[in-house]
Assembly symmetry: D3
Homo-oligomer: 331 residues x 6
């Protein structure tokens, strides 16, 4: 069984039931999520060993977050408790032409207060087959960024492949650094990078407008990088999207099938579901095309699942991969 | 007022609310259903007399099942209580490309323990205008199969028309018989049979690939059969189907209009809704085309109704039959 | 900040959750609504001052109705309490080809018992920039009709523009008058009238079949009228509509963009949302086309919002007006 | 099996969940109730045949009321449909020193519009063993009062024992009659009367202050009366009551055990539960003491049951009658 | 009509429904509260004018907080919006021997970021009959403390009576000041002070152990103080308390009746309910004993009401004051 | 950190919300429980390592049961999947004099189908500090009984202390054995036995009527037994109990404090909570009195917690042990 390690903040997600708006609801549904933890939960649900590393406040809400991860079988032994808040985010779910809306409330979280040397990565990554990080972590605090760099370097030393999703959120990065100062060193250690020409231009000053050319430029800049990948999403409305993905394995380009998704039940975490599916695929199948198709199908299914994480099974994903999108009742 | 009798198991249906998955829900919504009882509830809701015959355990859950039937006006006086469980099924509702899923938990039910002579069919069928059965009942136990055969033979003796839906579920039939040994004798007494060429090949060794030819072959094999019918369903996704139906009245073929159904609220029991609608139509209208259109429109409406049974009214069905699918608000 | 005054009955709306039918629900969700109050709530939510004038019973349900209005910032100081019931309506939400259904229970309400001189309109309309009424009010009782006439005449005297939505509901008008005897005098004082050729034929005996010609005829009959407007709705199903609107500003015709709306979350109050949006637009923008587009976009958004009133924000409406209907997540 | 007939209005009851107040709730739980129908439901639940006679509007809410009665096995064949509203009442549940509160909304109901000759009592009461009425019915309208008088007289003619609960509610009686003009003629035909000295003074001008003496005076005034009974309730708080009851069988006095009830789950219908229990007891047991104890124990259990009607079983009541109030878990 | 002004933070309160624990709930009920705002809501509910002054973030959660206050008729015109979070607190409700538990999450709130000169107190307090503050506000930040001091001094200048509840919470006061440095100057301007000997010793170095003596010492230290008051609470369990209160009006001592409260529905805000009741009493009744009894009875009722604020009516409070704690159903 | 191993069936528990009865509910709340697993969950929640051994069906309901255990940190690695059902039980919660009621539906469960040699106890018990079993397991099937005997013998061989709760349920034991044939051999290997004179008479033919004497007789019959213990429960009603416990440590008798518990939120699993508390106490404290008090206080707290398992913390239990039952709010 493969073992994957992820590192990042986990927030409590609070959302009005159904299509209620913030200003009319009297109740909030609880879920937990964080882009890296979502990957871990999905991989654990696919049957692999997944350990998530993070830091929580030592009070009942922090404990609930741990319970959430444990219930899906995620290994939580490396999680640490300390001062600071539990990050929260409030989610209002849109429909048709009304967009979903997120109010973040993650300031001064226990995760942000992480110290560079808080985790013993040597031990944590022992025996791991994959390590995954995203651009949220280094955007939160210097401690988190330092800690992540150590993790990646340790993974490199131990020969553990690393995937990076250097997503950029402009409202983070408030501790004095710009992403361009931090992200390249993290990308250095990656085997797989998620992103497109636009993002690479912003982060790495890559001038190619075309995804393929940009991917090759990225590989030249960071020679460890073998895979470059991203999804293409056509947003017809908050309830209706079309999705496909592409993957470069060194020079070779792969393009997935395109899926029509309607209605969308929960849009959050569909990118993480893609990443988890792709990692599963690359760890399981020899053929990159098969890995790519597994990733997209996993993401497609996530759109029908409430919560941040993709709790679809391998067999459900494979039903889609094999071309059956009929949604036929399973008895 | 017409009187219809149905016979079969009724299960408690437990389903996570909305689109929640089994592994994330903390609550289950209760409904009750069984393919034959669904037909009875729908016909009672259309304003006809409907009596359902079954066997329940004599405890609060069995009593709740009776309450459920009674609330729709189904005559429950012939129901018997005894040992055994209340059959259950767990339903997870899918969306888009995620299929709905059923976990059956019906082993050793009070219904399965039925004795061949447990019901006085002579009395029960007195004055009835129709009797309906399905292939689930003879698949459950020898006692249920024997009991059903007696019911059909009594109906034949009393001149009560019989409809049969000889649906085949491979995971039933665990008491030592194969359907081919049991179903033909039951089909013998039928005026109306639901099914298509594929099913007839499996059950009756009819080799015709085409539905029309297969229907005629069936009528030759079972001379009492006057009507053969089935629905055509195009499954675009778990949320989007297209539906039509066909009917052979002796040699004459009828084809219904096709409906586009989106979104699907509850797919379960839509076949039973068709059967109830068709029986209502055949008992009410002289024109088989009208009966067929009533049946399909009834089934179409059921896709928008929660629970196993079609609680649409005759006037709602007729709105569709008359071509208005605009869903315009009724004040 | 502009100030708008509206006048009309507010009912408690009771609806089964989700897609449950009346005969299967065990709980009813509470909202409050009335076509004129919906306009007030929407305008208050857009940030303008809105005062609603009505009459409630002096018991906890009447107080709840006031709380509802107050929570959106509607000025409730002119509301009066007295004898009579709180009007109710029961709403069942449809889907696909199953229509939504309303059971009204508004007989003998506190509003119907209004006396002609119950309100001091001189004070209420002081400083107002707009007054809005609909054809529901004069259909309820002689007192309500008289009171409304006084309000319109006072508005005219004070130079406050008046909009009228002379909607006709055949099951109202039970106090002995026909709409043709009452509505014209009310229309007399209007700057803006909502309706189409069919309605104008019925109410004002205007024979033009074409909306444009009928609008011009209306302006000739009622010289104060400057704007005539209405929406065009194509009802594909209870879950899927297409919507646009047109506006005549004196001789000049404006036509809005057309929106595809799927799925519809709540169809009730979408006409009121259009009216509120249009009033907002006319009070805010110099260009009638911009006002019209704001109105339609407001109405489109309302289809995605639970309850009678449009609690979309100006910026959400403008996102649509600017052409973005992608429903892209806002962080 | 004994057969009981009851006659009276059934209202939809709408109550905020748990201890929420009217002005803070966003949802209302649905139940149905009416003092006479509550007696019918309880007796049907005890296993006797119970038929309830009433009149409903012919719309989905009226149909829901019928479904409610049917689900408990109450015979609804004599119910008629017609014009008028479905009576409603809104219930807020109190706790400790905060009282429960009811807002009635029953004006102009379909029941109030009953015609004197609307029901064929001869047929309805055929084979009945008991008929029960209360003082609510004659307080609603002349038609209802007339209809009830016919029912009682028919029962007397057919030899069916009659029980009357001539409860007085001052906010009813709005059709021009005083109870003193109407109730005595109804009491005339009774075998059993519920009430105490205070009520008898008010209705029948009986001057005795003591319940026993007043009961005897009542029996002298109405010679058909054999049983006089009432409960004694000590109200310590909305959550804590003490309850007992007394019964005069001709000259002989019986006094029940006293029960301590804490916490009270639902206080509504506990008097009706007593009446149903007592009727059950008198129809089942030879010993009036046993009947009385059954009645009180039934009422005590009702305090723990949500809704208007007592859905306790005979065996649960008998557990209390036999002295076990330990609430010990039944496996 | 009297007008009261309050000033302080309002937090969103999130609590698991019923008796669920934090670690097992999947949903949180929303309420809003803050000790001073609770006083304002209660006084508004009693029918007086109440204005609450605070500062919220300008996002949907801040707007919801305003909606909450507005729905009870609290004047929210003086509320300001700005940067910072919406303070939150998570509440788990206990029962019997299990205590209720609060997790505060109020760090860096918009309220804490208040500037000393953010509000124009001269305008706000114009025409006011009372100003109320508590010890939470000066414990949050220097800006809040400064702002409060200005408010009190302005009230003094305008002749508006001031009440202070100098409650001490050790986990606040994190901005570098000790309460002893701040509270005395605020107490200086008070007419009424809530507290007992223990609190006064801590805050004002008053050595008297007895409440009466301590109250007199307080009055010597702060000559403006006329009333000193506090509640006595006997905590038998989380579900069962006994409550009374005392009041010194200058030299004269008043002692209230003692109430037994069981079961407790919601313990939060019962002290604020006392304060609101007492202020109402002092502004309404000439007799301090009557004011005191009104305050205690108000607090007693609050224990039966969900949420932070006492939404009991004056007539409900007076029912208790007049000695009726029977909780008898009000029809 | 201590490590405890438990073995037994885990069922899905389905219960109507609040005080709803089976026949009136439309929804069921999900929990999971089993007497031995409840002990494991409580001990895990106290912070010890707890592993539960059982067998589930390999479908989503079985997976949900595992998720439930995992979320509390119970080690589920030794759980096996196979054929058979997931055992269920339906629970209706009583109040006051209405008893709670359980309908078991556990026939033919995956656990019952356990094979004697299905688990490698040598590995499972390696490093364990305690093993716990109950009389439910050997009552279910020969395979379960055999498997348990192996577990106890292995524990004995490895020097792991064993506790047994030989509870007798007459409706189990349907596989042909009587408890007297099976339980003694299991008791043989126990260090601690839960039970009283009545149970010991039934199971072991011990004639002593007094608990102390019976305990000593038990120790003579089974020389390994060091501790004998049980709770004393006075059942005043379904909502009000009094609880204490006693413990014999060899010859020495200990008696706990008595607690008054009102209201009871959830009575299920309170015995298991005692056992978990006692095991925690014996593993943690040198003084048996302290262990005993910890056990009783744990059980008392469980009465206030929904679900089968005690999710109180060590510090909450110790608050009670130290005498504070005031339920005072913790901030």
């Amino acid at each position: 069984m493969k073992k994957i390690v992820t590192f990042g903040e986990v927030m409590m997600r609070l959302s009005p039931p159904g299509f209620e708006r913030f200003t009319q609801t009297t109740t909030l549904d609880i879920a937990f999520g964080g882009t890296e933890a979502n990957v871990a939960v999905s991989l654990a649900h696919f049957g692999y060993e997944a350990a998530h590393v993070t830091r929580f406040p030592d009070h009942p809400l922090g404990h609930s977050a741990v319970s959430y991860l444990r219930q899906f079988g995620v290994d939580t032994r490396h999680i640490r408790y300390g001062d600071g808040r539990l990050g929260l985010y409030f989610l209002e779910t849109g429909a048709a032409s009304r967009a979903s809306q997120i109010v973040y409330d993650r300031i001064d979280s226990a995760f942000m207060r992480i110290q560079a040397d808080e985790f013993d990565w040597e031990t944590i990554l022992q025996g791991a087959d994959w390590f995954h990080w995203t651009g949220i972590t280094p955007a939160l605090s210097q401690g988190a960024a330092d800690c992540l760099l150590t993790a990646i370097q340790t993974a490199n030393r131990l020969g553990v492949p690393v995937s990076g999703d250097p997503v950029y959120r402009s409202n983070l990065w408030q501790y004095g650094k710009r992403p361009q100062e931090v992200i390249p060193a993290l990308t250095e250690g990656c085997t797989l990078v998620l992103g497109n020409a636009g993002l690479f231009a912003h982060l790495y000053d890559i001038q190619e407008k075309d995804n393929e050319a940009a991917a090759q430029a990225l590989r030249h800049q960071f020679p460890k990088v073998r895979y470059v990948t991203d999804t293409n999403r056509e947003q017809l409305s908050a309830s209706h999207n079309r999705l496909s993905a592409w993957l470069y394995d060194k020079e070779r380009a792969y393009q997935s099938r395109t899926y029509d998704i309607q209605p969308i039940v929960d849009r959050i975490g569909t990118g993480d579901a893609y990443m988890a599916g792709l990692i599963y695929g690359l760890l399981t199948y020899a053929d990159p095309q098969q890995a790519l198709e597994f990733g997209v199908a996993a993401s497609v299914l996530k759109h029908t699942i409430l919560g941040d994480a993709n709790i679809a099974s391998v067999s459900e994903v494979n039903t889609l991969v094999q071309g059956d999108t009929s949604g036929k009742l399973k008895r």
